[in-house]
Symmetry: C3
Subunit: 446 residues, 3 copies
Amino acid sequence: MIILFGVFIRYNWESDAHWAESKHNLSDIENDFYYRYPSFQDVHVMIFVGFGFLMTFLKRYSFGGVGFNFLIAAFGIQWALLMQGWFGSLDYSDGKIKVGVENFINADFCVAGCLIAYGALLGKVSPVQLLVLTLFGVTLYAVEEHIIIKIIHARDAGGSMVIHTFGGYYGLAISWMLYRPNLDQSSRLQGSKYHSDVFAMIGTLFLWMFWPSFNSAIAGHGDGQHRAFINTYLSLAATVLTTFALSSLFQKHGKLDMVHIQNSTLAGGVAVGTAAEFMLTPYGSLIVGFCCGVLSTLGYVFITPFLEKHMKIQDTCGIHNLHAMPGFLGGVVGAITAAAASDTVYSHEGLVNTFDFKDEFKDMVPTVQGGHQAGALCVALIFGIGGGILVGAVLRLPIWGDPADDNCFDDEAYWEVPLGGSRAQCSQEEMRVPVALPFSVRIPVR
Amino acid sequence: MIILFGVFIRYNWESDAHWAESKHNLSDIENDFYYRYPSFQDVHVMIFVGFGFLMTFLKRYSFGGVGFNFLIAAFGIQWALLMQGWFGSLDYSDGKIKVGVENFINADFCVAGCLIAYGALLGKVSPVQLLVLTLFGVTLYAVEEHIIIKIIHARDAGGSMVIHTFGGYYGLAISWMLYRPNLDQSSRLQGSKYHSDVFAMIGTLFLWMFWPSFNSAIAGHGDGQHRAFINTYLSLAATVLTTFALSSLFQKHGKLDMVHIQNSTLAGGVAVGTAAEFMLTPYGSLIVGFCCGVLSTLGYVFITPFLEKHMKIQDTCGIHNLHAMPGFLGGVVGAITAAAASDTVYSHEGLVNTFDFKDEFKDMVPTVQGGHQAGALCVALIFGIGGGILVGAVLRLPIWGDPADDNCFDDEAYWEVPLGGSRAQCSQEEMRVPVALPFSVRIPVR
Amino acid sequence: MIILFGVFIRYNWESDAHWAESKHNLSDIENDFYYRYPSFQDVHVMIFVGFGFLMTFLKRYSFGGVGFNFLIAAFGIQWALLMQGWFGSLDYSDGKIKVGVENFINADFCVAGCLIAYGALLGKVSPVQLLVLTLFGVTLYAVEEHIIIKIIHARDAGGSMVIHTFGGYYGLAISWMLYRPNLDQSSRLQGSKYHSDVFAMIGTLFLWMFWPSFNSAIAGHGDGQHRAFINTYLSLAATVLTTFALSSLFQKHGKLDMVHIQNSTLAGGVAVGTAAEFMLTPYGSLIVGFCCGVLSTLGYVFITPFLEKHMKIQDTCGIHNLHAMPGFLGGVVGAITAAAASDTVYSHEGLVNTFDFKDEFKDMVPTVQGGHQAGALCVALIFGIGGGILVGAVLRLPIWGDPADDNCFDDEAYWEVPLGGSRAQCSQEEMRVPVALPFSVRIPVR
């Protein structure tokens, strides 16, 4: 990695000390750093705290959830800089990749795809398998992104297609390849407990709050970022209401289910990703958010059990409901919104800026753009499912040290777990017994 | 909600794709988004993580604390955009509300008022009651804000009056209306436990750290935001020292009480809200912070028990000490500081900018402004208490599904609680019993 | 404190209401506030949440970890504004210290030094001792910083020398002075438990994510901040991989140790502090991060036990591995990178900007600058060790109320601990006893 960076990676003109000479009449504040760094940090929090803590909900796999998330994200961003560089910001004049803050945001996005896939496999794979998954996942992502953004010229600021559809189906396909028929041997560990659910809420809330930054981070300067933030924000707000309502509707006694609140509330951010920088209008965002809340909650109630039972897909975190389906929906919404764009709504200059109708694409029209968006969605699907099956096949090789069926969802497998902790807190049974009894006493322990 | 947004809400000129045409010679970086978005995100974190986790301190109501906070905040911001729009940014030429990042900050502020009120009622009301409380609360807030800011022309950047005084007394009045004489039936659940106190510290710290952003978020561009941040920061720092000192003074054996540390440390931010953008001077901020720390800690030690015993006000989180009293104090400080303003201290242009002495108010002088500030404080009080009694009367109707007295502070009422969790962790009694022993057994426990 | 602030502290020109008059042709967005405030908030999160939660890992000292961190940070920043003001931003024309956002960042940095020292002493000192430690620590820091930055004219944007080397050795020297031979009396409390480790991960992740902001917060506008962020980010990413690999290598059965993951992953940010704004190149950053990960993890495995056994230094959090050694390494890297600087790499103007070769230093050359950097590192070491011994001697006086040997690492000493909490969760033994027994049974419970 160090050698590859030594050969390929250099500062771009905005982070190089030559900036003082080359900036012409720009003010220092117009360095791209000040446009994007706050958003970058928000995205960064989502990747490490958001995804990390969202995966702490299992009663005995919190270390693995947040720890392995940390590992593969830190590995993935380095690899992504190289991979995305080769397909994107490579300067052909001197064969170097020039990096600045936007590349780092893109690297975080790329890693997000792999973390989504991890969600489906949480507790069932070894750290080495995760590194392999990330290595291939990042590579696939970089190719897929290049095809979608550069070749097909689709727009996808928030990555509904590029990140979520790809990452979701990638994870599900791998999970399908790694199906464990006897997973119920560790079913005692497959639930949450009171405090692990509260930890997971940390993840949920940071994801929810910073999603507007996620979708606006690489949108156009000025009105583009501003609008992407508004659309995402409104969509997310609508999803929360829908999720609470439906969760209460489908539970016994109208009680709320933490699984829905932790996950489905976020689906609105996924679905508005592609269209975030378009003129989706505020009420359009609400409609998208509403539909997503319904879709995602119903997914947890009906589709996840169905997938597990009939399709042999064990989806620990329910990424099908949170990323795959909403991402697909987001791609469709993006295609429709793009096809419906017009000079009246955007102004001519606005249309050109938003859809980047420049250079070789300067004769593009919105309706054709809509078609390209739809094509991009298919590419994301194909890469996700195809890549997942391929990588799943690799991960089935018996050399990666994956845990036994009755050892899944258990931090003991890969972590030094503090003694008191696991005993005192982690299972009800262990709670009952801790009285040393003398021989010949009969006690009807409940 | 979708229909209302469809009819009324539009992007404002800074988030509309026409920006490219209409921005004239502004640089993209001068879009209001870049002035306010980082502050907005900090405020957003305060609303969802700050308030949410601050309310997880109860041993068995953490789901409700953070979950219902999430629900009513997400509902409230949508409703607030409409309500504040009708009274504020409605463009009469075409009957649309034009929204941009500043409106979203204001919506978060508006919701803060309702979340404060929730603090008094934590654990004693149903989610439906909370939605009703928010619906009316947001509406009252929008009217009150319009009167204070637009009609009285008072300045209140950090909302000591508009948010905290209003929200605090609104919650207390409702709590008074919903008095439960037999609440001690659930007294076993009315405390914290070790880890729920640590969770609450997450809320405290995020509120404390980002309060400078709260008070500076909608202050004037440039020096206004800069100064509001400095004043708030210093006031908060002073409050922490005072709180630790007093907490240790009033406890047996000089021990510290987590309740004070979690709450009173924040009072300084509340009290400096109105005066934050004024030339309060750094030592002025320290004095305000010091007074607030004293007031708030004494409030927890003496006033809250008094209110509960003699005034029939049950205030779960102690919002009287954290929001109501400090908010009132903040209003007074604001009035005095405004009345004492002068051309020498502010420069003429600075005075005009800070107090917005423009258009119809261009003949205003600081002393008169001080009077207006005092008037505004009264308006906030009246709206808080009056509105609270009104809404409390509505909430007493027996149709809202509020929990029984012995069911208060218990997540079981509204949430699917994981089995192991509640048993193993939540109450000492349950810990004691789990072995039914037969008569005449001798057990050498250790 | 209020009086001192009243006499000395004033707003600087960018936060004063005279800004409107004095800003000349600057746009409001060019107020330093907008350059630095997002970074400031990130640093602020690191100080309060990052350091605070990193210290919650002990099973029964979470209140003390996060609470006392809060106390001394809030005290320290006020004192630091005064101390750093006297040595730095004091305006001699009117004897006032003019403060703006950059001063507040520096105050946070100053406090970081003391919090590092607290890490070595965690659980073994009283709050009063901590206040004394902070009072002296901040004063020493201000003098040391003045000598290093102003007199020696060394550059240290991320504070490898000024903050980490100083703070690390300051804490270790105090710990050596306060050596407790019978500390094993409280060894039962000296470990973590499951959930306290998850809490500590909150601290780790926020430190990790925001370290790029820490190192870039006071770097030069424009390319300086941009480059500091990139270098830090890459170094940290490399450290994570190295730490995971080594942690697994040195544990039985290849399991991972939470102590390493929580701490060593951060060492890369420390070591790249001085050189962050230099043209370290991306692969240079990776190399630094890699070395640090190795050094820090090996430190936990071998050096910390050695220090405790043979050097009488009890280092609760392992700050020697996380701050002292990496900080020293960072100073060395900084000296080498500075000495190797050239016009070709930086451009002439870039070189002048980066190393501030202006005014009295306009004839400076990089090689000499390298020597100055090395000298600065020695100053930091001397101040750290010397100051620590001095302050340690003061803290040994028997007047500060420090806890007894068997009372260390126990929140009960200084906090009201909720009953259920400590019983139910904190130690396995206590778990065993609470059994309600029927009449006529004699059980010698403890």
